[in-house]
Symmetry: C2
Subunit: 413 residues, 2 copies
């Protein structure tokens, strides 16, 4: 089994966690680590030294890491959102596969540059949307592909996550504070939009055509900071982000999507998934299904009754290993999918077109809100290729069959 050499840039909480996971994988060799804060970078170097018994290169400047001629085939990017695409493009230009954590794009132009860089260099890049690999979403994907819902009509999802406690640590250089202070937008659409795009074959015979976005007033963060964080300097700050953002999207094939961003109010976590077609409906909040011809009466059936028949084969296999990893296993799956592509020098299962499409929704939602919920066209980053594109057997966006190679690694669990 060939070892994959890769570097990692950005060692905050998420990056450091990823480094630990990558160090557990026997088929991965970390060649260099980077963070703009020297202490974090040095902590990363120590983690590598403990595992490998030798020093690895470290730098506080990501340009050094990307330029390094150390045989690295891939770079994992876990920096602030603002830098994801910039670093990915630099890595691709050096022939290195780029994986970057989820987050919004900063401009539509940036999305195009990501796409063009791939087309010019042939080097793939992947937005690491872990929820595409979550157990319930993948099982729903399997149901969709097996026709359980008939012809799809409508999907919903949300990033509904009470993150108010994070505000306690808000300061000038806190990423979420920047965005919440300055941007009124669907800032974080990919956790729900990623899986929905797989259900709807987006960029494979279908595409996102247009969106409209609407924001509530902003109340939650000021209320929390005033009441729970005595004397916090941002207690009276003018947070521009509405507490709840609703985005509606229309697809080329006539389906609609509703997304909800809801992070500043008290509530239990939910991605609020819903898939509805001509023969059935799934609702994540109920973990329930109603399938014509199967469900008896006008009731919901528990998802639990469907696992055995419909659990996605990747998950059946994954669970058999008794590995769970981060976020219930989906982090491990998304990384193994990326590494598989690197090893075999093939396209990543989420490619630059999918990544650009997902990331663009944040920008366009911001423009729509600024223009009074105006209808914004979503660019076709495939330049028309989506109409005649063959299903990519390696693409989770058109995953009809299990790709066993995703699990070919001799992985230490």
């Amino acid at each position: 089994m060939k070892t994959i050499r890769m570097s990692i840039i950005g060692l905050g909480g998420r990056g450091t966690w990823w480094l630990g996971e990558l160090l557990k994988m026997e088929d991965v060799q970390i060649t260099a680590v980077c963070d703009k804060h020297e202490d974090r970078m040095e902590r990363g170097r120590r983690m590598c030294a403990e595992k490998y018994g030798h020093e690895v290169y470290g730098s506080t400047d990501w340009h050094d890491i990307v330029a390094l001629d150390d045989g690295a085939e891939a770079v994992m990017i876990t920096t602030y959102w603002n830098d994801h695409v910039k670093i990915a493009i630099a890595a691709m230009k050096r022939g290195k596969y780029a994986a970057f954590e989820v987050g919004p794009a900063q401009s539509i132009q940036q999305c195009w540059e990501l796409v063009r860089t791939y087309e010019e260099t042939g080097v793939p890049a992947m937005l690491m949307e872990n929820c595409c690999y979550n157990r319930e979403e993948m099982t729903v994907l399997n149901m969709v592909k097996k026709g359980l819902f008939g012809e799809l009509l409508h999907c919903q999802g949300g990033y509904q996550h009470d993150l108010r406690a994070v505000a306690d640590s808000f300061k000038d250089d806190h990423e979420r504070a920047w965005h919440y202070l300055h941007r009124n937008a669907e800032l974080y659409p990919t956790h729900e939009l990623g899986p929905i795009m797989t259900y709807l074959d987006i960029n494979y015979g279908n595409r996102l055509m247009s969106l409209n976005a609407m924001a509530t007033k902003s109340r939650g963060l000021n209320k929390y900071l005033r009441e729970k964080c005595d004397g916090h300097p941002m207690a009276d700050a003018d947070f521009r982000l509405g507490d709840i953002i609703t985005t509606t999207i229309r697809c080329a094939n006539g389906e609609t999507i509703v997304l909800t961003h809801d992070t500043s109010s008290p509530r239990p976590y939910s991605r609020g998934g819903r898939v509805q077609g001509t023969t059935g409906i799934w609702m994540e909040d109920l973990h329930g299904l109603h399938i014509e011809g199967r469900t008896k009466g006008e009731v919901w059936e528990p998802m639990a009754d469907y696992w055995e028949e419909f659990e996605h084969p990747l998950w059946k296999k994954s669970r058999a290993t008794e590995y769970t990893g981060g976020h219930g296993g989906m982090d491990w799956l998304v990384m193994r999918a990326f590494l598989n592509a690197v090893r075999n020098r093939i396209q990543t299962p989420i490619d630059v077109y999918d990544s650009a499409t997902m990331m663009a929704v944040a920008i366009l939602s911001e423009e729509s809100i600024a223009e009074g919920c105006a209808t914004k066209s979503i660019p076709d980053f495939t330049d028309g290729m989506w109409m005649k594109r063959e299903d990519g057997p390696k693409s989770i966006f058109s995953l009809h069959e299990v790709d066993e190679t995703l699990f070919a690694g001799d992985v230490e669990f």
Copy 2:
């Protein structure tokens, strides 16, 4: 107890059911019945004769009933949607309180005419939105007014009702067939929008500002008629109504609303209610609440745990009578509320401004869809009065206190 004399126009299924209910009320005297179909009108007359032991007037022309000088103080209108406002206006001009069943307006102009007729005649009219009086919605209203959710941010609701079987009886003069064939719109918003307007004090210090609507493709009715109704003449008809319509509304005070119209797909019935504020959330599909300071942990609490403390006093009193009536009791409550207004010559709890606002959403959603999910302004039918309007103690739209007079009738259960 003074008897209220009233007539009823439109004796299809719903009208005939209402006639039966009204005949049970000892403080109501039906003076005349009307349906354009003579057989239905005569059936209505027989129902009255059985109860009263004497004949009542009948006509197949609603103009006759409205013009009748029979001492009737009110008219109940249960005709096709297209005729609701037209007949209501004619009745108001004759000094008769008008109650009309739910349904969309046919033009914005018609909504204005309803409002102006009230302002010119002083005679109230009421859209009989029964869901405003449903047990769970009224209890949520009570929670809202008691501040359980804090400052409101976002509400959702839907008319999610698999009505495909109705298509079997579609023919040229079938009302739903007309609308489904010709209109791509949020045709039936009031069951969810009515209660939401009560939560948000719409037309009492707040108002609906603008909306955007988006439709899916149309599949369900053709599929159903082809597969389930052999040789049906409308099997290949071009139904313009999208299977699922999503409407987003922004309010003057910064809250947002999402409405869903979903009647042509297999699914369990749900109005999909959701109310979210700075301190809590209610979800109807879960019959669950999460209230900061009450709920322990990041979980949903069952609504059942809140009934005792928060059930709306009107419902506590109503249930004590062990009366259930139509649709779980809400039909009875909405009618008693209307009759109370007639008896006391006061404003109806849902007035012409509220009725026009609710009905206008259908028209504007149609325009929005036709214009590519364009932003449509919602008229202020109060001509600015909403800003300084006092809470109407008789209005369910600003119901802080129980109005005991709603239950003053010596009613036979």
